[in-house]
């Protein structure tokens, strides 16, 4: 995990903000506090926030409204909901919309911290996966259209001879294409090619 994760606390009561802030800081987190969903949306973007602890019932824009907003603007930002009401319909709506967790006040320290750490880990995992996918995509862009076509035949399990026949060229040409593909993508075995193709949503030919 990154050196110092920053948690945002959004709650309309100052004392609640302070209490949670003290707890999280004692655990080694950096904390930024906000008195309303609106204030959170208007925040300066630095330091970057890794997770949001969000009170559900606030005057004005509610916690659930904020979640909807964030789905659009910041879908990877994990949210842990806190509520003093313990309202079941509210929690179902929140979870359906992708909340990691929904906790009721008064919240036990271990519960809260577990939820936060899970959320942060999950978020980190997502981030890395996205980075990886982005890197692969960059490499894929280096392939020419022809090479891409050849790749699609390869991952369908076809032999060079077949591919040559399908595409109307010689087996030798196919071999050259395959060499280029290997260089550009940095992988050799067909199995790995299949895996990468799957990651990047490239369909084998004839499917």
């Amino acid at each position: 995990m990154s050196a110092l994760s920053t948690i945002a606390i959004v709650d309309d009561e100052l004392r609640m903000q302070r209490a949670l802030q003290r707890l999280l800081q004692a655990e080694g987190f950096a904390v930024r506090t906000f008195g309303s969903a609106d204030a959170f949306l208007k925040r300066p973007l630095s330091p970057r926030i890794d997770c949001v602890v969000l009170d559900v019932s606030m005057p004005g824009l509610t916690g659930l409204d904020l979640q909807e907003h964030l789905q659009q603007s910041d879908p990877c930002l994990p949210i842990v909901f806190l509520t003093g009401h313990g309202d079941i319909p509210m929690s179902v709506r929140a979870i359906k919309a992708g909340a990691i967790n929904f906790l009721t006040k008064p919240v036990n320290d271990l519960e809260l911290l577990t939820a936060l750490r899970t959320a942060l880990a999950e978020s980190e995992r997502l981030r890395l996966a996205q980075q990886e996918a982005a890197a692969l995509r960059t490499r894929l862009e280096k392939l020419t259209a022809r090479e891409l076509e050849v790749l699609r035949h390869v991952i369908a399990g076809k032999l060079n001879k077949q591919i040559a026949a399908d595409l109307g060229t010689s087996e030798q040409t196919i071999k050259v294409h395959r060499m280029r593909i290997t260089e550009k993508l940095g992988v050799a075995s067909v199995a790995e090619l299949v895996r990468i193709a799957a990651r990047l949503d490239i369909t084998p030919v004839d499917e």
């Binding site: 309309d12 009561e13 004392r15 609640m16 302070r18 209490a19 949670l20 003290r22 707890l23 800081q25 004692a26 655990e27 019932s57 606030m58 005057p59 509610t62 806190l82 003093g84 009401h85 313990g86 309202d87 009721t104 006040k105 008064p106 919240v107 036990n108 320290d109 809260l112």
Partner: protein, 680 residues
Amino acid sequence: LARPRSQPVEFLEASLEGARFVGAERDRPLVEFLGALFRDAPPDLIAAIGGPAALFFERHREELFPKTPVLVVAADRRRVESFVTQPGVINVGIDVGLPRLMENILQVLPRTRHVYVVMGSAPLDQFWESELKREWAPFADRLTLHWLSDRSVAEMREIVGQVPPESVVFWGIISRDAKGIPFEDETALTSLREVTKAPIFGYADYQIGLGIVGGTLAPLQAAGAAAADLAARFLDGELPSSKHSVTLPMADPVYDWRELERGRIPESALPPGSAVLYREPSLWQTHRTAVLVALAVTAGQTLLIALLFAARRRARDMAASLNLAAESANTGLWQLDAITNEIKASAKWRELFDLREKQPLMLADVLDRIHPDDQARMHQVVSRARQGAESDVEYRIVLSDDSVRWIASRSRPELAHDGRVLRIRGASMDITNRKRMEEDATMQRNELTHLSRVASLGVLSGSLAHEINQPLGIILSNAQAAQRLLAREQPDLAELREILSDIVSEDRRAGDVIKRLRTMLKRDETSIHPVEVHEAFEEVLRLAHGDLVGRGVAVERRFATGLPPVQTDRIQLQQVLLNLIVNACDAMETTPSMKRSLTLTTAADGNGALFTVADCGIGLPSDREELFQPFHTTKPNGLGMGLAICRTIIDAHRGRLWAEANPECGACFYVWLPWSPESP
């Protein structure tokens, strides 16, 4: 018109309420509304009912529906003279002969000396009042006219309830009384009739049967029927032209038999050719046999009683005949010698007080019987009686088997010629049953009030949980943070001190919430005291805070400053306010969350305070009084008792609770309570 026809007729009814408010600027919203409704095709026919509606179209016909024919119905010619000359405007009008209305009264009650004229304060009402003043001026030398248009209906009821003999009430038009409260004709008329002995005269034919005596009246109903006829013909294709216009004369005289009886007006006083409606067969006609028998028996009894009195008419033995009557009424008679303190009492009395055998019977024996809680008070009563005061008291006695009885006693002193008290004579009665029933009734009422309060709080339970969970959450997180801080090498003491301070505050806060809850849930007797208005309101708001926030309702306060306390029971008042606030939130359930707002106001009003709770929700049903009836509810799980109980509570505090629609949206509930007596 709604009867079956060749083609179905679609009605749009737009109520002007214009009679009630001033100014053509009020027209704008309706004009725009009508314009929008009929943008694609104008209506086929417009019926403008009454003067104000006709005037509205006089102002806006050109703009809205220049080609649509207009039927003006039941407007007096004075009001619509110019409008009805326009092409396409057909008049089915009336000509109200105002002097005729006065002649009605004088014909049947020639000795009338006072006429109380009940009129409202809206522009329409005022117009007619000035007409009346003008046309009734000639009558001013034979009787006194009292104009009540500057009074609220509550004041009118008071005045009219105490009129001198030879008075009548003339029921004019009330669209709105001086307090600004709008009225429905029928209920107002009936309510006025209840309080006055004077006969009531009206002006229109539809009022017969609602409590007016009668006479030659303005033919409003007849005009309506004639107009419907014309409308049907026009919709069938007949072309409207000025030959269709007609002005109806006053109707033939008609009277309500029940009001004639009530006002003791003989039928011989009615003008020839009058119709008399609602005639009830007299008691004699329906129950002849029974009446004859009853008469016979009564005659017999009267004779018997007269004989009894004749036989016993000796001054000293008047007591004996009283005894006879008293025995049958469960009354015991007694007599106390003021000097010896000895009591002589009837057998019935001895039975009542369980002192059958006691000889001699002394005052002390009786005082011993009195219930300990009533002892002090009764001792005072006795000593005052010894000084010559009459008494009329209720108290409890405890019998030898420990059972308790309620007794009502009356006494009178017998004085010597020098003013000393010689004897005290009295009568006592067992009222245990009545007392028990009174207590039951009070208990049931308290129970209902209490249950209703509990139910209201139950509705808030979600937000009450929030009110407690917040402080608890703050305490827990602070404490757990403190634990971590203490585990360090160098704990930050300043931080720890702050943490503890927060914990203490939040603990107190939770305690307050619980205390407030307990107060509301306590089952208490009604106690009427001076109550600070704003404090009470703020407490209710704190209680409902969680709910308000949870449902996204913004609260706006407009509180007057410096209001003296009102005379009420604090908790019951808060119960009512809470109910109104919760109702308001419910009404705004479907309102978009940005627009959910609750406006609370307080202000001085006459000799009391006026609170209002206004919302921007779905508004009120057309019958506003329906809301306050028991079992009226719009919620699927509602009990329907809330507002009925609120009314009972406020009435019991001598206040008023009513509702009105807001001009823009939603509803406004009004609570009025009197100031406390000590207030200036």
